[in-house]
Symmetry: C2
Subunit: 585 residues, 2 copies
Amino acid sequence: MAKEKSAPAVKIIPLGGLHEIGKNTCVFEFKDEIILVDAGLGFPKDDMHGVNIVLPDMTYLQENSHKIKGMIVTHGHEDHIGGIAYHLKQFDIPVIHGPRLAMALLQGKLEEAGVAERTVLKTVGPRDQVKVGSYFQVEFIRNTHSISDSFTIAIRTPIGVIIHTGDFKVDHTPVDGEFFDFQRLAEYGEKGILCLLSDSTNAEVPGHTPSEQSVYPNLDRVFSQAPGRVLVTTFASSVHRLNIILQLAQKHKRVVCVVGRSMLNVIAQARNLGYIKCPDNLFEPLHAAKHLPPEKVVILTTGSQGEPLAALTRISQGEHRQIKIREGDTVVFSANPIPGNTIAVVNTIDRLMMQGANVIYGRHQGIHVSGHGAQEDHKLMLALTRPKFFMPVHGEHRMLVQHSKTAQSMGISADNMVVTDNGDIVELSEQSIKVIDRVPSGIELVDRAGVVHHEVLKERQQLAGNGVVTVAAAVSWEGKLLAKPAIHLRGVVSGVEKSLLEKLVIRTIEATLSDHWTDFAKPLNGTQTDINWTGLQGEIQGDLQRLARRELQSRPLLVFLLQNPEEPPVKVRGRRRRSTAKVAS
Amino acid sequence: MAKEKSAPAVKIIPLGGLHEIGKNTCVFEFKDEIILVDAGLGFPKDDMHGVNIVLPDMTYLQENSHKIKGMIVTHGHEDHIGGIAYHLKQFDIPVIHGPRLAMALLQGKLEEAGVAERTVLKTVGPRDQVKVGSYFQVEFIRNTHSISDSFTIAIRTPIGVIIHTGDFKVDHTPVDGEFFDFQRLAEYGEKGILCLLSDSTNAEVPGHTPSEQSVYPNLDRVFSQAPGRVLVTTFASSVHRLNIILQLAQKHKRVVCVVGRSMLNVIAQARNLGYIKCPDNLFEPLHAAKHLPPEKVVILTTGSQGEPLAALTRISQGEHRQIKIREGDTVVFSANPIPGNTIAVVNTIDRLMMQGANVIYGRHQGIHVSGHGAQEDHKLMLALTRPKFFMPVHGEHRMLVQHSKTAQSMGISADNMVVTDNGDIVELSEQSIKVIDRVPSGIELVDRAGVVHHEVLKERQQLAGNGVVTVAAAVSWEGKLLAKPAIHLRGVVSGVEKSLLEKLVIRTIEATLSDHWTDFAKPLNGTQTDINWTGLQGEIQGDLQRLARRELQSRPLLVFLLQNPEEPPVKVRGRRRRSTAKVAS
């Protein structure tokens, strides 16, 4: 009963979002009930060969799925909702509450993955309150961000109120006129907030993040000066930016061709729900726009991050079937490269320029602003909420450290905050906040065919760096080569002649067979022998691996395939005859 | 004789330096004589698996090596001298003229590569003039850059003076007191310069690049506030920065442990030649410094770009044998990440912080400045030289475009400049500048074992993304499997059971053999058959490839190794007997 005596506490377990990959999944647990906030996905690093997406380790939720009472979604960005369809294949989530736009985007994802029936989506509006399970009551507080319909949430728990900011910036002149609900936040602050979890993305950036509106005049100038077509790229999910671009197209009497699946999807959903308002005849399909004068056309396209398969990337490579760059085209990058994408983006810009486009890009142009608040915005959030405890979230380690310093500069004691890692179990009580333990954490890598395990990735890394040498040899039950070994090199740099390499391989296998055959072949009776083929295979593989390293001056993966007839030969009339190899079919 | 009538012209052929890889090699050719300016190397992009260095295509110089009269080196950076040792293996360069520090660093490289006897290194000082061949006379004009002893060069040719800036910034307060020789540049400008080739690295950056001296007070503040050891990382070749760090160590009464081969080499050479002045007892080996109080120690280390094998990277991973991070350590990144290295650098920072270090990094700290001039510096260069023709060099395409716009803003006509690509032949006469043709260009990838050809790289990329499936099967001269095929998967994600996969492979091979055997096996005479083993191998390989794609839902490389006994079986006493497989040894 010792457990009963300890102060009641909420466990907070960030499963993702505290490093660059496996974004934004947070568990809140009280007694035997869990609610989840968001479940995003991440994108692979360069050495994660062949990996399409990255998910946080969900072992803890799989093992505790009976506790899950529901999920809260703060907004519709991929790094907050993109993981849900994958998780629903592993465990049920009884109900998901979230804003209209996010729920509409999520519905499509769940249907596509065939898991829509595993949960119930419920739509909320500003200041709506929902009860999830017996202990948690969640209120949705309008905030401002780069996507429409985004919320900060207040989670009332038996021990006090926890505020989770979600992603936010402080935009006093939001494009959609939906102001940040500071009143409600301040009210919670006045009543007393136990803990604040706050977005740390721009914790390293001094000052304020400018309003989304600030890009309007700069993009307007670009549109005004463009002599021909305008191609604009931005994040498909930046609904406010899309709105601005569509407004400018109307103002400058240009039709808009939308290119790219995700862009088409977001615009359709956002128009459907009224987050984007524009007339139907603003849009034209590409084939129709071909016949219009270039100064009457805007092409709104994916590819702002230089993604290999995105439309703008293919355009820059001259490989897009319908769109070729012509003299007079203006291409606008209304997005900054995310670190890691820089090279891909600048290469795309170079290629577009070489084809004759005037490319507008870079921080000095004022055609992009961040969707996340900077240090002074973080201070405002802390000032409005005045939390007792603080836990920076949504950022890499150094951003969390910087955000905690910002909080300390406003008088919150370092003892009252935790800088956590994915998988940490944070125990929050009325008296304290501390990391008490860990759950399995890490990442799960997924490619087209399924989960890419660590060993597979290691093999791919070795294959990538050094290639593979394959040798196959059939060996008889008498320990002789049955045929000339076959040798194949892929991805290997070799200064050695093929014929010499063959000779060396044969010599090595024959030497191994002659030196070690008796180690692996034990006589059973007069006519039969028991042969440890696996051991023999390993012995030859080892010798060939050494040969490859010595002769090729590199470390290719060496695969040695040993074949042996399935049955030993039987003696017939004093001479050995091979049995017909039996092969299962 | 038409050739004689055309105006005499200098051909300028940039072989490298106009994209991110294969840096800085420029050919100047007049009649049958060639001089080279610099020969650098580049580093591989992420998808150049296993590649260590990148060199420009040197076909043109190999084919015209008899014309080469000599090379000019402007300064000692790797992207200006790093390629020379490789090129000397392919063609001779009679003489190389360059500054003392660059020649000392180059000498070491040539000796290491065993090619020091293939050329003669000659050292020059400020305003020295050297004659190379019959037509070119080169004067060395002191400039300011991040490495000591750097030059802009004036090339007098039969048709006029060409200025090549080399790498430069405009630093009016150089650390070593060696001022930019504006007087000499202005004198050339006054007399008339035919063409300017100018460094475009920071062409996108507005304003002036700050003086190297500006980092001194900021690093001084860091040293003052550090409670324990200071670990500093910067580019090994930034001699001025090293000087500042060593001065600060002296000022703060700390000894310096230098870690990392390139750092040790540059410091040794620079001290030897007097570019770095400090007492011997400033330096201590690591094992001796271990016994000193932490506030008496500076560790100067490589790894500012998060290079996987550099000392600081290994320290951050806890894998350095001698250095472990402790509480109280301050780690200073006195360098910005080069685009493409950002993720590696921030991951290193995160890991160092997690181990308890206070890490000082980022643009806001004022602890790093660029070695290249920005837009206003470019204007000063143009203003001093007032060239008739202009050719931006040393930068990616968009930087060259921006640099040419800067030149146009100062009144140079767009007709009087060229934006070039690697391999372009620029014809410069007294009347015009234009691109007239191209020579083979591109890149050569080198790994430990030699040149990585395009096909090998393609194979590595496929191996990296999808892994490899290897199947080996021995087939008799009757078209039957001699043994159970061996199957091996590496780097492949498969949801298919191994035993099922084996069955499918056997079924596929047997089906191919039964359907197509007669296509490949032609009876020669009563006892012999001529079998097209290569054709059969290809047929089975194709069928297995289709099987793999269908069953594994991915596109692994499929290697199929067919083995067959070397000789057909001969009939003995009415029954077939296998010949003993003859195997060459």
